[in-house]
């Protein structure tokens, strides 16, 4: 298993954010994490890459204990794409993507040719070569998200943690980001852990899904198992309308519909 999480419990004073969460992710798997707001999805990602403190024995990468790794070594296992960036406007695209190379740099040294090659490859993979000299402030939301993705790809980690990578993007941009993720996944056998609010995206774009509710595992299974009213109610506490997709042999969630047109 690429990632093993055993009895992961995370608390802040007065509140348990994650409560004995256990799951495993295989190498090259596309793994979705869904659940209502405040269920602990983002917390889970942040604990996995140790932005938030990680309990000592709970997380293993291919059997290796995560808490024993230096932060730099961990960053070679796992890269993180945050929900939103802040205050990076002035950096040029190329400078920002280069920051992803940090875990590969020796202390105090300058980036080497290999690092610049990785930057160029990541920019090419995301179709952002033409933007390399622009500052982040001049980019649109979709372009910015591709640059953040490029920086994570330049990190050359085996696992990519994505916190709602398409939030605030229009449907066209969403498709582009998903296509980029898909090609990175198939080309490098990347393991993807993606937090999403889109149940259909979780079911159609992933191999397995983890459903969190109030910090506990409410669901863990395949897209087929997820697309049942009971499973969805277990996660979200609400009824969903399911119907077969016209082109795929799959059930999808339909909007409940408002007032009917007359």
């Amino acid at each position: 298993m690429m990632l093993d999480v055993r009895n992961l419990t995370v608390s802040v004073p007065g509140r348990r954010l994650l409560d004995s969460v256990s799951f495993s992710v295989a190498a090259g798997e596309r793994f979705a994490i869904i659940g209502p707001n405040g269920a602990g999805k983002s917390t889970l990602l942040k604990v996995l890459c140790r932005i938030l403190p990680q309990p000592a024995e709970a997380v293993r990468w291919q059997g290796q204990l995560s808490s024993g790794l230096a932060q730099k070594d961990l960053a070679r296992w796992v890269a993180y794409v945050p929900q939103a960036l802040a205050h990076t406007e002035e950096f040029a695209v190329r400078e920002f993507v280069l920051m992803g190379r940090y875990p590969h740099l020796s202390p105090f040294s300058n980036p080497r040719r290999r690092d610049w090659e990785a930057v160029d490859q990541a920019l090419a993979a995301t179709g952002m070569e033409a933007f390399s000299g622009r500052t982040l402030a001049t980019l649109s939301g979709g372009e910015l998200q591709k640059v953040v993705l490029a920086a994570a790809l330049a990190q050359e980690a085996r696992v990519l943690l994505l916190d709602e990578p398409t939030a605030h993007l229009d449907p066209f941009q969403q498709d582009q980001i998903y296509a980029l993720l898909e090609s990175a996944h198939s080309r490098q056998n990347l393991t993807l852990l993606e937090v999403t609010h889109d149940v259909n995206r979780a079911a159609l774009g992933h191999d397995r899904i983890l459903g969190l509710r109030d910090g506990r595992v409410a669901f863990l299974g395949t897209p087929e198992e997820l697309m049942r009213p009971e499973a969805l109610r277990e996660i979200y506490g609400k009824r969903f309308l399911l119907a077969p997709h016209p082109n795929l042999n799959r059930l999808v969630v339909l909007p409940e519909g408002g007032r009917e047109a007359t």
């Binding site: 960053a75 960036l85 990076t88 920002f96 943690l161």
Partner: protein, 324 residues
């Protein structure tokens, strides 16, 4: 030529211009042929103006580097050594030394330097310890703790001034204005190694500063050992500020203005920015000092007055510019 090449040439020429030009500026006119004779003018030139220029270069570059590091660490354009309360802490230490009327040296450093160190590290320790108590050392917590610490130390300095007799009180007041005037070669030689060591540390951490400037969470996810880097930066800034404050008194706003001007010229990448800050800091403070010497000639203003007069409006400019 590219625009950045022009900027580098400009910075380098400004520095060379300061190095060669500023010692000639002052109340007393000195002719070039005098400086190699044994005349009083040569005395003024070599034992007053040149060490003063060198002190300005050392203090300017050190304060600039410290300010740049703080702005990245706190991700706040208004952060500088003075915001963190480090400078106030160092000043308190130095004022305490002046108040006691002691006079001693230890390991080649003056008592004032030791007390400024102690003050700087004490204030850093308090601020850092407080923020650790308050949970993880969040940047906002640290910054607010710094402001509170700074106010507290400033009050203690006022108390010391009130308790001191008139002579000592006047000495403190004069010293608190910040001046390059009292500096001689020996004091310079004491201060230089530590100040340069601090600047070297910050240069070495230029890539880490980039990561911090782009956000703490992302920096950690990219492999930055946040507690260690924070501690290194805080300790480095503490030593740098303690050294400079002991040398010149608290000269304000240099750590704000120099990095900001460089960022405007060359962008936020610390791999370039750090060198530019070193260069500009070495020109900026000596140039301010030259202005202080001639503005009300024959009277000489403390350079801290000039930097404060420039820095106040500059602070407000940065504040309005950064409002979304």
């Amino acid at each position: 030529m590219k625009k950045t090449t022009w900027i580098w040439w400009g910075l380098a020429l400004a520095w060379v211009g300061c190095l060669l030009g500023l010692p000639w500026i002052g109340v007393e006119a000195i002719r070039p042929q005098d400086i190699l004779s044994g005349s009083p003018e040569a005395q003024v030139f070599w034992s007053l103006r040149v060490p003063r220029l060198l002190a300005g270069m050392l203090a300017g570059s050190t304060l600039g580097m410290a300010g740049m590091a703080m702005q990245a660490l706190f991700r706040n354009p208004l952060a500088e050594p003075f915001t963190l309360g480090t400078a106030s802490g160092a000043s308190l230490g130095a004022c305490f030394y002046l108040w006691t009327g002691w006079s001693f040296g230890f390991l080649g450093l003056s008592g004032q330097t030791w007390f400024a160190f102690a003050g700087a590290l004490l204030s850093l320790g308090l601020v850092y310890g407080f923020s650790q108590l308050a949970g993880r050392a969040r940047t906002e917590t640290l910054l607010l703790a710094g402001v509170a610490g700074g106010i507290f130390f400033s009050s203690l300095i006022l108390l010391l001034q009130y308790l001191a007799d008139q002579v000592h009180s006047l000495r403190m007041l004069r010293w608190l204005m910040g001046s390059l005037e009292v500096v001689g070669y020996w004091e310079l030689l004491q201060a230089a190694p530590l100040a340069l060591l601090g600047s070297g540390l910050i240069l070495a951490l230029r890539f880490e500063l980039n990561l911090l400037a782009a956000g703490e969470d992302l920096a950690v996810a990219r492999g930055l050992d946040l507690p260690r880097v924070k501690l290194l930066l805080l300790a480095g800034v503490g030593v740098m500020v303690g050294t400079v404050v002991a040398l010149t008194g608290p000269v304000g706003f240099v750590g704000l203005m120099v990095p900001h001007i460089c960022r405007q010229l060359l962008g936020p990448d610390h791999r370039r920015l750090a060198w530019a800050v070193l260069l500009l800091g070495m020109s900026f403070l000596p140039a301010c000092d030259a202005v202080a010497r001639v503005l009300l000639a024959p009277a000489e203003l403390p350079v801290g007055v000039i930097t404060a007069l420039l820095g106040g409006p500059f602070f407000l400019w940065v504040l309005t510019r950064n409002r979304p």
